[in-house]
């Protein structure tokens, strides 16, 4: 079997190279036979990858430990579902899975666009085949998942990491990969349009649709990742700014930017170069994200480990990709000239420009902050850490600005908003903003970022509501139906626009959830059976500790009862599971009681089976479920926007509803730790600050002390906490304690954010510089547009044509009248 697998991979490589060669030759010689043959070859790669995947899954299911990869990620006791998902649990398999997804998606894209974009197809196939070849090449020469043991095979497998044996983890990577892979398709179409010079707006439609599908999966994958972190890691938060999480976020930002700026191109014929650039950048970032995760250039809990050879190969591919793509952009610049100019700063176009600038800045900032430790090590040989505090400090205001734009942009008119326009559109949303802001202020909400966020959510909510209400009344007037019918018709007829507004609504809900993190409360309780303790109005009573076991693991479960105002709310059972062969890494099974207002989140931090004494870390997490709900809404909105064009509408639309999950979206913002710094934790303020400042030194978790994903089971955290407490008791200041840790640890990487001095100042200064430069560039471009004399020929030609084609124009009018 393994030999057959390796052979299939080789065959795929050969077929993919044939697809590449036949398509290029066919495209250049305009030979239909060659093009068709290339398309057939491309379909064949998908079928062959399916065969290879079948072989490896079969090996997993039948416990064929002769294959190294299977032996490493599976064992006999694993449930069937996790044996199958082990396929993408490791580096080699994940690359193979990547190629499978790419070939399948590519096949769907080619099959559905073959007639519509006949000119582009050979080049689309060539680009995708080349990308596939790169990944297959890696597998064939370096990371072959079918590698076997030379001598005798071990009798037992090592088993999948227990942290990954979780429902969300089983579907999170495929979803994220799907998002990444789907971004290859817009790139392939974009490059095909550049190569052939068919740069009118037609190619955009295929690209927009696939970007949306990719975007939805990316959002879904990121949300699942958050949900996994929240449920499985047990530190009460959901986003830790880990490099691998960031890798998924980068293309998400650029894809979001593209989905917005593409509207400007469709409506106004502007931003052409920019849109092509965004498509290329998004694809580049997906490759870059893969590179970051797999080459070990950054330190992360879930990176696959260092691999210089792979890093070199990826770097080469990325350089080639950038050179090739941008060379074509430059070559085609004359065809990409904008046909219109910016008329006013108070216009939809200008708002989109601002939105793009901020999204791009976010992507750049995260990229920079993620790579800074690597950069610092290369330049100065000093390893340091850029942790959540640094990200949060930046992303909080950026997220709020984005939220403002979400509210403003839909209210502005295309081309130019007049004063009366503005008054008419802004009255109600601004009123909502002021009322909510005043209410929040009157209630004495202490956390500024959360307070502002609440007010802005009201603003955006009012904007969306107003759009729906006004739209429905316009439609009601036009169609003479009743209000409700008009509302349904409105959404059904203009899926893209109203689907988009629904997506915005989902984002508002997520922001509510992020803002709620500002009011999180945590408390550690050490209890004997029957004792109780309270946090944030909830009383927790410890009942007992039980020890049970099954084939795979031993389970220690704490039984607690939760009361509120004397009334019993729930029986909860936080646990720790010790998987066989992974005893040193017990998993944390968090008990969560979900409610719209707040979650009660209980972790069994420590226990003594003899005395039945247990320590629980109890967190009350306000509004967190709104994030998951927000994703549901967002997915429905995306589904609606995708729906019109038959064939794969279902692909995007189904995912959403069933899943109670969420996304990340805006996660950026107020994330996890966001609030952590200001949280009303019942701990000494200095100790709390220090827990955010200092990294956990256990060497495994790479997180600040208050963020340690292994809290409870972490073997160094407890001692470190005691040491910090001792230092505080000795009267040392925050700076002194930090200095002491740096001295003792021998490097500043023990701090969660680089100290603001010397070379590190770059980390703090560069985002400012980049932000300002970006703003200046956007301003300059906009200024030039406003100055450019209108091209007389375009509108005139369009206007002049109508009278000439009288008959057709009359027919057009008829058809428009008939159209609902």
């Amino acid at each position: 079997m393994p030999a057959l697998g390796t052979f299939t991979l080789l065959a795929t490589f050969v077929v993919a190279s044939y697809a590449l060669a036949a398509s290029i030759a066919g495209g250049r010689r305009r030979s239909r036979a060659l093009i068709e043959s290339g398309v057939g070859a491309f379909y064949m790669t998908a079928a062959l990858m399916a065969v290879a995947s079948g072989i490896i899954i079969h090996a997993f299911v039948t416990d064929n430990y002769a294959i190294k990869y299977v032996q490493r990620y599976s064992d006999v006791a694993q449930p069937l579902a996790y044996k199958i998902t082990s396929y993408w649990g490791g580096l080699d398999g994940s690359i193979m899975f990547w190629v499978l997804l790419l070939s399948v998606f590519g096949t769907i894209a080619v099959a559905s666009n073959r007639e519509r974009h006949r000119e582009l197809i050979p080049w689309v196939v060539a680009i995708m085949a080349a990308t596939e070849m790169f990944f297959i090449f890696i597998m064939v020469v370096h990371n072959n998942p079918f590698d076997t043991f030379v001598a005798s095979a071990p009798a037992e497998g090592k088993g999948l990491n227990p942290l990954l044996q979780n429902f969300y983890m089983a579907i999170h990577p495929p979803s994220l990969y799907t998002g990444f892979v789907a971004m290859t398709i817009p790139y392939a179409f974009g490059m095909a349009a550049l190569i052939t010079g068919h740069l009118d707006d037609a190619w955009l439609r295929a690209v927009r649709r696939w970007t949306m599908i990719g975007w939805l999966f990316l959002t879904f994958g990121l949300t699942l990742g958050m949900l996994w972190a929240y449920e499985e890691l047990g530190w009460g938060g959901f986003w830790g700014w880990d490099p691998v999480e960031n890798a998924g976020l980068l293309p998400w930002f650029t894809a979001t930017a593209f989905l917005h700026s593409v509207m400007v191109q469709e409506r106004r014929g502007m931003l052409r170069v920019w849109n092509v650039t965004l498509v290329i950048t998004t694809f580049f970032l997906t490759i870059f994200g893969t590179f970051m995760t797999r080459s070990g250039v950054v330190q992360s809990v879930h990176a696959f480990g260092e691999d210089r050879w792979l890093a070199g190969l990826f770097s080469g591919f990325m350089i080639l990709l950038l050179t090739f793509s941008f060379a074509y952009v430059i070559y085609r610049l004359p065809l990409l000239k904008s046909r219109h100019e910016l008329d006013s700063w108070f216009s939809r176009e200008a708002a989109f420009l601002a939105n793009n600038w901020i999204l791009l800045f976010s992507a750049f900032f995260i990229l920079f902050a993620t790579m800074f430790p690597t950069l610092s090590e290369a330049v100065r040989g000093q390893r340091l850490t850029v942790g959540p505090p640094f990200f949060n400090q930046w992303m909080r205001p950026i997220g709020l600005v984005l939220l403002v734009l979400t509210g403003i942009a839909p209210l502005l008119a295309w081309k130019k908003s007049t004063l009366s326009n503005l008054v008419q559109q802004f009255t109600w949303p601004v009123a909502a903003l002021i009322v909510t802001g005043a209410a929040v202020f009157a209630l004495g909400i202490r956390v500024w970022s959360s307070g502002i966020c609440f007010a802005l959510c009201a603003f955006v909510g009012a904007t969306i509501l107003q759009e729906f209400i006004r739209g429905a009344s316009v439609r009601k007037g036009a169609s003479g139906s009743d209000y409700f019918t008009a509302l349904v018709g409105l959404v059904a007829r203009q899926q893209r626009r109203y689907g988009g507004y629904i997506v915005h609504l989902g984002i508002v809900l997520m922001f509510l959830g992020f803002a709620g993190q500002g009011y999180k409360q945590e408390k550690d309780m050490q209890l004997n059976p029957g004792e109780q303790n309270s946090v944030a109005g909830f009383t927790v009573r410890h009942d007992s500790i039980a020890v049970t076991s099954d084939d795979q693991k031993q389970m220690i479960t704490g039984h607690v009862t939760v009361f509120r105002n004397g009334k019993q709310l729930a029986q909860m059972a936080p646990a720790r599971w010790f998987f066989a062969k992974h005893e040193s890494q017990p998993t944390t099974e968090v008990a969560i009681r979900r409610a719209p207002g707040e979650d009660v989140y209980i972790v069994l931090a420590a226990y003594d089976i003899g005395t039945q004494n247990a320590t629980y870390a109890v967190t009350v997490n306000p509004l967190v479920d709104w994030i998951w709900l927000g994703f549901g809404i967002l997915a429905i909105g995306t589904g609606i926007a995708l729906l019109p064009e038959r064939a794969f509408a279902f692909a995007g639309a189904r995912v959403p509803e069933g899943v109670v999950t969420t996304s990340l979206l805006l996660l950026m913002l107020l994330l996890p730790g966001v609030a952590r710094a200001q949280t009303v934790i019942q701990k000494d303020a200095l100790r709390q600050q220090l827990e955010g400042d200092l990294m956990c030194t256990c060497g495994g978790c790479l997180a600040p002390m208050n963020n340690c994903p292994m809290a409870g089971a972490c073997h160094g955290l407890k001692e470190q906490r005691e040491k910090v407490n001792r230092m505080i008791d000795q009267g040392m200041t925050r700076e002194q304690i930090k200095a002491a840790f740096v001295r003792e640890h021998g490097g500043v990487d023990v701090l969660s954010a680089p100290p603001d001095e010397g070379f590190n100042r770059l980390a703090w200064a560069l985002p400012y510089v980049a932000g300002a430069t970006g703003a200046a560039l956007v301003g300059l471009v906009a200024y030039r547009w406003t100055r450019r004399p209108a091209m007389p020929d375009a509108p005139a030609a369009a206007g002049a044509e109508v009278p000439v084609e009288d008959a057709l124009a009359a027919r057009l009018d008829d058809e428009l009248r008939d159209l609902d």
Binding site: A33, A50, R267, K415, A794, P795, E801, L816, L819
Partner: protein
Amino acid sequence: MSSETSTSDGFHVSHFFVLLSLMAATVAVVMARPAAPEHLILISLTVGAAGLAALCFYRLLAPLVAPHVDMDRQPLSDRLRADLEREKALTLRSIKELEFDRAMGKVSPADFEEMTGRLRARAIGIMKQLDSASSAYRAVIEKELEQRLGAKPAAPAPAPAPAAVKAAPVVHAASAGTCACGTVNDPDARFCKSCGARLQEVTQ
């Protein structure tokens, strides 16, 4: 699957490969028999994928031995036609959307005129393409008939040579964006997307 692979009695090449995979899967399952059901399902699926690969291989080879067809000289297929119809519907929809925007107070009347002008020109372009396409289709049929009957018609068909996307018959360039080579471009395009010629000379 394109039509050249089907034969007159309705048997499709893909049927052959489906049959082949079914037989191969049966053999594989019988040979692997003392095994859990999920193994057998996996084996069958894998064999099915292999059958698919074989079908694709056929698709790879078939065009190479088929009679040569220049990609520019194919009549408008039904699918392309459907796509053009869709394109037209989308353009009409955009015009409607714009009217809606005007009603919502999101576009000023002057801007509205200019923007609809562009869209209307585009819609008219597509309608022309659709019209010409149906006559081109007729020409192809007539030509085929002519070949089969072996008789020369008294007068050549009035429609131009079979040409679809590329060669709309309206070559007199009355409309903006139509190039001398016959390609219909966006009305405000300045160069032809097919031959690269400057379009202003044509339109003015």
